[in-house]
């Protein structure tokens, strides 16, 4: 790979200014895992790499009952696993992180890097989507917050402008009694998912069920299955009701045939994983 100028800004503003200054010839580096991989494959040859590692507090993981979870963009996947708050209160995220890659990947890969790459085959994305996560974005002298759903635009394309960075992911406090599930299909244990699905079920006392379902690796971006969620809202969530709505999963996904499998295989897989995730999430939901 070609050598490059390494920039180590000490603040987000400095990082954004550097990106603005160098435009297309600059790439951001978080943990560097994906970036170095792409450079080694010859897919990227930036003249400038802007490392975020010296920006203070960008890797902090904070949790509070009132504010929920704030995951700094440079927090390692390992930090999610080490957090008892994540394990107890956001088990779908904890589970997704636990099957992400390998020990070595989790020791270097960051949450922000994973999401900013815009790869639909992200373990974390479906889990964060069913948790209604938001993306906090920093630009030159500006900040904005958007839903994580809006953050993903297309394959390898996010809502980040060229001079913007993902600063943090914010997850609202978990709904009490929510049942959650994460299902993944992969070729080998270290692989990116062939298909991955997260589900969250809420059983409100006296009022109907709520369901959230998100799918990754089954289209250009990780998505929520809104049609299915609407169809199942208010329904008594029996196996029959879930089976009846499963066809709506197909409306949410647009898998392509590739080395991981044919589109039709992935469609079937999506349906199977969605069913498992919904059933497991619902069985875990506690009436509140």
């Amino acid at each position: 790979m070609k050598n490059f100028f390494l920039h180590e800004p000490r603040s987000l503003d400095e990082a954004c200014l550097t990106l603005r200054e160098h435009g297309d010839s600059a790439k951001v580096m978080a943990g560097g895992v994906t970036l170095y991989l792409l450079m080694k494959h010859g897919l990227l040859a930036p003249e400038h790499v802007v490392s975020l590692r010296k920006i203070p507090d960008l890797n902090r993981l904070e949790s509070s009952p009132s504010h929920g979870l704030r995951i700094g963009a440079l927090a390692l996947h390992r930090q999610l696993l080490e957090s008892s708050a994540v394990r107890e209160h956001y088990p779908v995220l904890w589970r997704a992180a636990s099957v992400l890659g390998s020990v070595q990947v989790r020791n270097r890969g960051t949450v922000g890097g994973n999401l900013s790459h815009g790869d639909s085959a992200s373990d974390l994305a479906p889990a964060l989507l069913v948790l209604d996560a938001k993306a906090l974005i920093a630009g030159t002298a500006r900040r904005r917050q958007i839903s994580l759903e809006e953050f993903f635009v297309d394959l390898y394309e996010t809502a980040l402008a060229p001079d913007e960075l993902l600063e943090a992911i914010e997850v609202p406090p978990p709904p009490l009694g929510a049942g959650m599930s994460y299902q993944k299909f992969e070729r080998t244990a270290v692989d990116h998912p062939v298909a991955c699905v997260a589900a969250l079920c809420l059983k409100n006392r006296g009022t109907p069920w709520e369901v959230r379902l998100a799918l990754g690796a089954l289209g250009p971006r990780p998505v929520r299955a809104h049609a299915l969620e609407t169809a199942l809202a208010g329904e008594e969530l029996t196996e029959g009701a879930i089976d009846g709505a499963l066809g709506l999963v197909q409306e949410a996904i647009h898998p392509v045939s590739d080395l991981k499998g044919s589109a039709s295989f992935k469609r079937e897989l999506g349906g199977v994983l969605a069913r498992r995730a919904l059933l497991e999430a619902c069985s875990r939901a506690r009436t509140r």
Binding site: N3, F5, V103, R108
Partner: protein, 160 residues
């Protein structure tokens, strides 16, 4: 200021080291090419096989995808640093005694992952061992004797 080459300082197997690196250089290259510690192997080069695994501040990482500059100020342990005064580390001994080595190419990385595991979790279950070694591929052994060696090493290292 942005840089293309600079000097970094780190500890490698307990020794302080000062080296000149390029921005693009990987930790693996620093170890093998600059420091001539060729125990750590390069195989896939894309962080999937684990042959290049070393411990960076006690954490297992695939050095082929770790920028060398990220090791500045940190400590790196490689397979060369395990045996002390000619005495094998318990993990090395267990691998030998349990016949867990065939061609040997995956072994330095495998052993470093195992050391990392046992130092954090001295009594791993078989499932925990297998999950910890997900990132270390072996084409020869089928992993059975590796897992047995890890259990034995755990016991030898003080776990019961």
């Amino acid at each position: 200021m942005a840089w293309k080459e600079r000097e970094i300082q780190l500890r490698v197997n307990g020794e302080a080291v000062q080296v000149q690196i390029e921005a693009r250089q990987t930790l693996l290259s620093l170890l093998r090419d600059t420091l001539e510690l060729t125990g750590t192997k390069e195989s896939c080069g894309i962080g999937e096989c684990g042959a290049c695994t070393v411990l960076l501040d006690g954490q297992a990482v695939t050095s082929c995808l770790v920028p060398a500059f990220e090791a500045d100020g940190l400590s790196v342990r490689t397979v060369e640093g395990l045996a002390q005064n000619g005495v094998l580390h318990p993990v090395q001994r267990a691998f030998v005694e349990h016949g867990a080595v065939q061609c040997g190419f995956c072994i330095p990385g495998m052993i470093m992952s195992c050391v990392g595991l046992l130092e954090a979790n001295p009594h791993p279950t078989e499932e925990e061992i297998r999950m910890a070694l997900v990132g270390n591929l072996c084409r020869c052994t089928g992993y059975v004797r590796i897992v047995e060696a890890v259990k034995a090493a755990g016991r030898a290292m003080g776990g019961n």
